[in-house]
């Protein structure tokens, strides 16, 4: 297949232009509202929490971003607009990438700029008049990057929901995620219960098994037995953590986004 069939920069920019124009008006109104809110909260001299801006930003990013993402495929809600969108000459990939770019990088950059502007103006006024400025939002901190990673992960689920559901995308996706995580938790707990039940008495290990565990550790040459084994397990945790983080932050969103893309190719109106 010709490369230009699937992706052409010119067509991508044309589609991006259409997309940005479709969200321009509501986007500007929302940006003004958020900027105004941030400005006012920056003047709050009673709250001296150093993480205030990070907390507020996280709320806007997550709640605002996921609602925004839920409506990113708004054209598919109605048959008439869906027909118009699906028949715009462009590949499914280009159309999908435009939506994805706007919901991910577009929203992150937009909300960060708006927040920073509101915060900067508010904190400047605060410093000049009220003399109790807050700590600025640090966009180069690990906390900020972690937050962005978390948003991108959650966003991928909401992209899928935006395509899969015909209406009430945000609520339905949230409920579906809640149900999936609940089901996942129940399954894990059930497995844990079935596998480890004989070894536990309530929440504590039964004394005979604790003894076996300590003896096993002693026989394997560990001086402090049980205590040391605990540290050894702790020592392996970072590796497990990295695997889990990589799985959650890279593999899961990519799989969900691929599923979303395939869903678009199957969309009928």
């Amino acid at each position: 297949m010709n490369k230009g069939t699937v992706f052409s920069l010119d067509r991508f920019l044309a589609l991006l232009n259409i997309e940005l124009n479709s969200i321009k008006k509501p986007g500007l109104i929302t940006a003004a509202a958020i900027g105004g809110f941030v400005f006012l909260t920056s003047l709050n001299f009673t709250n001296q929490d150093p993480a205030m801006h990070m907390g507020n930003f996280a709320l806007f990013l997550m709640l605002g971003g996921l609602i925004f993402t839920s409506y990113s495929f708004k054209e598919l809600k109605e048959n008439t607009s869906g027909m118009s969108w699906l028949l715009i000459p462009g590949s499914h990939f280009e159309k999908f990438m435009v939506k994805l770019l706007v919901a991910s990088a577009g929203f992150i950059v937009g909300i960060t700029c708006v927040y920073y502007l509101g915060m900067f103006l508010g904190e400047t006024v605060n410093a000049l008049i009220l003399k109790s400025p807050h700590q600025y939002l640090d966009i180069f901190s690990w906390d900020f990057l972690n937050l962005i990673g978390g948003y991108l992960l959650m966003m991928s689920f909401y992209v899928f929901g935006a395509i899969y559901f015909k209406s009430y995308h945000f609520i339905k996706t949230s409920l579906a995620l809640f149900a999936v995580f609940l089901l996942f938790g129940v399954v894990i707990l059930t497995i844990a219960y079935l596998v480890f039940l004989p070894y536990f008495d309530g929440l504590s290990i039964k004394p005979e098994y604790k003894e076996i565990l300590i003896n096993a550790q002693r026989n394997s040459g560990h001086v402090n037995g049980y205590q040391e084994s605990h540290f050894q397990i702790g020592g392996n945790l970072p590796v497990f953590n990295y695997i889990m983080k990589a799985w959650m932050n890279f593999v899961t969103p990519i799989v969900v986004l691929i599923a979303s893309y395939l869903k678009i190719t199957e969309k009928q109106v």
């Binding site: 259409i18 124009n21 027909m83 462009g90």
Partner: protein, 282 residues
Amino acid sequence: MIKINNLDFSYKNTSLFHDLDMNLDQGNIYGLLGRNGAGKTTLLKLMTGLRFPDSGKIITGGFTASSRPKEMLEKICFIPEEIWVPPLTAKKYVQRYSRCYPSFSHELLKTHIEEFEVPYQRNLNKLSLGQKKKFLLAFGFASQCELLILDEPTNGLDIPSKSIFRRLVAEYIKDEQTVIISTHQVRDVENLIDPIIILDEGKVIFQQYVNALQDKFRIVNMKEISDTEKILYSEKTLGGYSVVMEADTETEAEQLDIETIFNIAVNNPDKLNKIMKGEDNE
């Protein structure tokens, strides 16, 4: 331009098309006719890949319709009966969407917009249904797509606009373009469409050039129906009957119109098709 083979399609458990075959050649203005619920709009959606067949094949412009590749979409302009326009002025709409159509002509658009008298600077959302439709028709003609699909194009148009529509189709549609007009308002497109395709009960019951029919049949006004064997279709009128007969009659006759052809096809499809194939002469 469009090839449909063994198409099966159903909505939930209701079968709409069964084993449907159809071939639409490039360079014609097809009239797609059928009763309410015959599946005209669904067929148009299937042709453009907006709906997928349960089984069978639909090839539009050389591509499998359901895959909706960009090369196929560039060739198609589909103006549905119920239209949607984004909240943009006509001018901005053109700036944004025309880039997606490789053969788009801004000169043609200007001409058509002027002919239809569509306000170019007003928000499309604020226009009446007729004005929106006229704008989309002007845009569609200017796109110069190989396949122009119009679902009930004259619905919502005022009388002068219907005449302009007919004139634009007659004047500006190029020989290599294919147009499919699905409509109930056959009188609005009477002299434009040829051939006609009639859908009924999930099948193409008739697909012929209007000229071929007009050569073979005539409408005769009679006070009483006498020779029933030669009569294909009759309709009670004031003071008698309007009867469709084979053209070999010596009686004074009128030319066949599309509405009558439709009525014959729906009421007497087998006989009509036999006559068209020349089998009835034996």
